[in-house]
């Protein structure tokens, strides 16, 4: 517990000093929300829709932070520590890899939750956002999306042989997910053919789930997403621990 607390406190300071996560995890989703809010905030999401654009997109905004922290922040920190031999130094101490990964997980989770809270306030304040769905269900689905995206990130960090490859892998996963999962460009405005392709991305399923629960849609509509996200989390978590390397 002492190790977790100290590592947590100091790693949190380091990640704030580094500024990457605050910029991409906290500022970026707010910018996207403000831009979409200014362009079409209170207008209906599409002609004849019951919900405004902001209401439909809220879940997607929150996913941007999950993406930035889980696919860039966490894996690149771990890959960087491996590259700098920080992990090698940890290897000759009693600390377990699981604890080191947990600390990174919690720090990035906190960053994305800060982003979630700020988004909620901004959307409520300026565009009269109300979460139609049950907040508890929304938070549960948020957690599931976090688990699945973070475990993908962890797996990338574990399998990448070096920092360069880790950077490349994360970029290859992060940007398509950011643009083609509905996180930044709304899923609804994409052509039908493109939507089919987008459905392959785990984050698309995550955003469907977040949208579903934030709009209060029946759970049956999102059951496929839940199953996919659960499976992705489990598989990637096992792989990331199995392939974890200190050096």
């Amino acid at each position: 517990m002492k190790a977790f607390n100290t590592l947590f406190r100091i790693e949190l300071k380091l990640s704030i000093r580094d500024m990457n996560i605050p910029i991409f995890g906290i500022a970026l989703p707010i910018i996207v929300a403000v831009v979409i809010g200014l362009v079409s905030g209170n207008k209906p999401a599409f002609e004849g829709a019951d919900y405004s654009m902001i209401t439909v997109s809220f879940g997607a905004f929150t996913a941007i932070a999950i993406c930035a922290t889980g696919l860039m922040g966490m894996p690149l920190t771990v890959a960087d520590y491996r590259h700098k031999k920080v992990l090698k130094r940890y290897m000759v101490t009693p600390v377990s890899p699981a604890l080191l990964l947990l600390v990174q997980f919690v720090i990035n989770l906190i960053m994305s939750v800060i982003s979630l809270v700020l988004l909620y306030f901004i959307c409520t304040l300026f565009w009269d956002y109300h979460m139609a769905g049950n907040i508890g269900w929304f938070l549960l689905s948020y957690l599931l999306v976090v688990l699945s995206i973070y475990s993908i990130g962890m797996m990338l960090a574990s399998i990448a042989p070096n920092l360069k490859t880790a950077n490349l892998l994360c970029t290859l996963v992060y940007f398509p997910m950011l643009f083609f999962s509905g996180a930044t460009i709304p899923y609804e405005i994409m052509p039908k053919g493109a939507q089919v392709v987008m459905d392959v991305l785990p984050l698309t399923q995550g955003i469907k789930l977040l949208k579903g629960t934030s709009l209060g849609l029946p759970i049956e509509n999102t059951i496929i997403s839940i199953v996919i996200l659960g499976a992705v989390s489990l598989i990637c978590m096992v792989l990331s621990l199995k392939f974890f390397r200190w050096e």
């Binding site: 002492k2 190790a3 607390n5 100290t6 590592l7 100091i10 300071k13 380091l14 000093r17 580094d18 960087d80 520590y81 700098k84 031999k85 920080v86 090698k88 130094r89 940890y90 290897m91 000759v92 101490t93 009693p94 600390v95 377990s96 200190w246 050096e247």
Partner: protein, 244 residues
């Protein structure tokens, strides 16, 4: 009593070249043991195999009666390690790296006291990157002592230190040795080896050339100074000029 470190027939090859050949050594409690050899002789590889950081091809290692790879968590409560060229987290401060390191152990040493002994007090708020080479080197030795170890590995412990700082580090290590600490070190400075080491082992291209006390080494060589004897054993007095 059981020896704290027993290495038998350690062998490690890398891309078809043998880095360590049949290395066998035993170190007694409270002893300072020096592993010598010129750059590329296999010193660091030997240490990394002993610590379980690198996998070796054959042989066995018993450190404090444990296997470094299998008993990692338990063993490294009592073993401190200073790697050559230690790197740190970006932007981490001196106090932070000390706090993090000491939080990993059940009974850590008082790191503030260590900072004082190593002439680093007052530098807590500086980032590690801002330290001078010598200060950073002292910090890396200090971090290896935070676990309050029974056994410590120091790979090129005083590279980059000025004479005064080197003497301070030696004095401190000798104090710890008299308290029962066992030390395994590598060094390129023969004055340091003569001052500190009870026994040494010289490696040449991964193979042990000679092992024994400094007097034994001198007796078996045609020379009277350790520097000359070392060069004779490690084959550097021949005009190979590998390092130039």
């Amino acid at each position: 009593m059981k020896k704290p470190l027993v290495v038998k027939g350690l062998r490690k090859s890398h891309n078809n070249t043998v880095a360590v050949k049949e290395l066998s050594l035993e170190i007694s409690k409270g002893e300072i043991f020096g592993l010598l050899g010129h750059n590329g002789a296999g010193k660091t590889t030997s240490i990394e195999c002993i610590l379980g950081v690198k996998k070796y091809d054959s042989g066995s290692v018993e450190l404090l009666g444990m296997s470094p790879a299998a008993d990692r968590k338990k063993l490294f409560e009592k073993v401190g390690v200073q790697f050559q060229l230690t790197n740190y987290h970006e932007k981490i401060r001196v106090s932070e790296i000390c706090e993090v390191t000491s939080s990993l152990y059940k009974e850590p040493a008082d790191w503030q006291g260590l900072l004082k002994s190593f002439g680093l007090s007052g530098m807590e708020k500086r980032t590690v990157a801002e330290l001078s080479g010598g200060e950073r080197q002292r910090l890396s030795v200090l971090l290896a002592l935070i676990p309050n170890p029974e056994f410590v590995f120091l790979d090129e412990l005083t590279t980059g230190l000025d004479s005064k700082a080197r003497r301070d580090v030696w004095k401190y290590l000798e104090k710890l040795k008299s308290g029962g600490l066992t030390i395994f070190l590598t060094s390129h400075y023969m004055d340091e080896v003569e001052t500190l080491c009870d026994r040494v082992c010289i490696l040449k291209k991964g193979k042990m050339v000679v092992t024994g006390s400094i007097n034994e080494l001198l007796e078996q060589s045609p020379y009277d100074t350790l520097e000359e004897a070392y060069l004779w054993y490690s084959g550097e007095e021949e005009s190979e000029n590998e390092s130039i």
